[in-house]
Symmetry: C2
Subunit: 322 residues, 2 copies
């Protein structure tokens, strides 16, 4: 999950000066600065690249706009003609500033702080590309996938290829680990999940592993619930992110035997602070910190989060078993 964001006054300063959200993502100096801000303030063990999962569709030539208070709006891709009009050959031209951001951050971080790059997983990126905006249900991509799996599959294949290339370049630029966000995995039934979430993820992980066998890949199939175990076992990932709804005792039993687990404090517990936050954080640590584990939130940090709560949480984690 993004560490930088509107909850930090120093982020709002830079964001206020940028022309727009996309411009900020494509400005290496500013994007590197906001990536480093939370590390300077809280001293986390890893920095998370400041970017956005929709940079890939943008680089593929799909029209994308961020409207204030409305989120992303894209010119929908809903048939094979629209898929054929995307330009996978030229993505690196548009994405070059992201790779430069990675280089700058990797150069600026202390030796003991890792840099995590990321991309959206094909299913989740496709939901935005097909629907054209964020919704609760993503009817259009789900219907396309059910009615015409061959046609929809061509979009997923194209995203599988280009996501692999995008993450490879992030690694070459200095990312120590990469993460795939499948934020909308939870709307899929079992067989659709196998086809549109597990299969493309396995393909991306396999190709990355052949090129960069030492670089950990983390997957986050948000809302996958019970299916998270199959995802962890079948994709070849090194770590799996769990959302707030997943019980940590279950993650210990069903996931942590084979992969590292990353999660899963309720972002609203971080807003509430005090007992609510400390209680849940301790429960997570008590359950998961005896196996391979990355402490994280179960979903994105929200703008209302008081930075002093993040500082208190960082202290709690750092002093755990100290």
């Amino acid at each position: 999950m993004r560490q930088a964001g509107r909850y930090l006054p120093e982020y709002r300063d830079i964001r206020g000066k940028a022309q727009g959200f996309l411009e900020l993502c494509y400005s290496p100096e500013a994007a590197a600065e906001v990536t480093l801000q939370p590390i300077r303030r809280f001293g986390m063990d890893a920095a998370i690249l400041f970017a956005d999962i929709l940079l890939l569709p943008d680089a593929l030539g799909q029209k994308l706009e961020y409207r204030e208070g409305e989120g992303p709006v894209l010119e929908p891709v809903r048939d094979e003609t629209a898929v054929a009009a995307l330009r996978p050959q030229v993505i690196h031209e548009r994405l070059a500033p992201v790779y430069e951001t990675v280089e700058r951050v990797a150069g600026a971080l202390p030796d003991d702080v890792a840099l995590i790059g990321f991309a959206g997983a094909p299913w989740t990126v496709a939901t935005y590309m097909v629907e054209g905006h964020a919704t609760k249900e993503f009817m259009e991509p789900r219907l396309w996938a059910l009615r015409d799996p061959g046609g929809f599959g061509r979009l997923i294949d194209l995203l599988t290829e280009t996501t692999t290339e995008y993450l490879s370049r992030q690694i070459e630029a200095g990312a120590h680990a990469v993460q795939l966000f499948d934020s909308w995995a939870g709307v899929l039934s079992d067989s659709q999940f196998a086809r549109w979430c597990i299969a493309p993820t396995r393909s991306i992980v396999g190709r990355l592993k052949r090129r960069f066998p030492e670089v950990p890949v983390i997957g986050f199939p948000r809302g996958a619930g019970v299916k998270t175990a199959e995802y962890a076992a079948a994709t070849g990932i090194d770590g799996v992110g769990i959302d707030t709804s997943v019980p940590v005792w279950w993650a210990t039993e069903e996931l942590q035997q084979s992969v590292a687990v990353q999660g899963n404090l309720d972002p609203l517990a971080l807003v509430a602070g005090g007992q609510a936050m400390e209680g849940q954080a301790r429960e997570i640590l008590e359950c998961l910190s005896y196996g391979p584990f990355v402490f994280n939130l179960g979903h994105g940090i929200v703008p209302q989060t008081p930075p002093e709560h993040v500082a208190a949480l960082s202290d709690l984690i750092r002093n755990w078993r100290a």
Copy 2:
């Protein structure tokens, strides 16, 4: 899940004549008619009362309005003063037309067709009462629950009491089974789920069982994922609804040993029809129909659903193993 709805032309006829959605819910003749429409057309084994989970807050005196294209809008209840202003003593006056609808439907149904009454579960009803409208995140109720569990608990207690009374009256009026919809159970972490979803549900089921030991109670903790097993074991319910994301093989192993399972066709597979629908329906039947089971959708039917797909699905289910 509601069977009636905008996908049926005969529903749209009646809805067009009603003054508004709430008026339709409170008109026994019209509400009974729309409850019976899908039974006449498709011949299901059970009818589902046409009503809404927000009738209870309305009956408690909270201001509620349905705005076209926007959904429900309520005057938010966000502190104990607002909770104290609710009027649990008088709910049956306002809800009397619902009980009359139940009587009418029970009287009109053939002997071999059951009538299922329902209410929202306390957590889900509270999310709307506190937030004031539908959102993806329900920040206000989740923050209140974390910051002031005592105060928020008083709202949950009041809803637990009144929901029990509301369902008791539905049973007395002729409902053969009742269902509790916890549509927003999925946003809760493990400990919050135990406190705000499992505990009030167990209390309602316990009280209903003392009064009506023979009446089945079904619970639907949407999005609960892994925690559905604990919910089924700890609440005393007779049946558990599973959403589309839950794999049926898991439901067979972890739920169907102790309770009946209800689910879980993707509503969009019903829109798509053909292979996509038949394949998933057969998979569900093959897995779940050898134990206690109610065929259902995994979420509400959508307005775009062609009625002929519902007819084809009903035939497929009726002819299963025939």
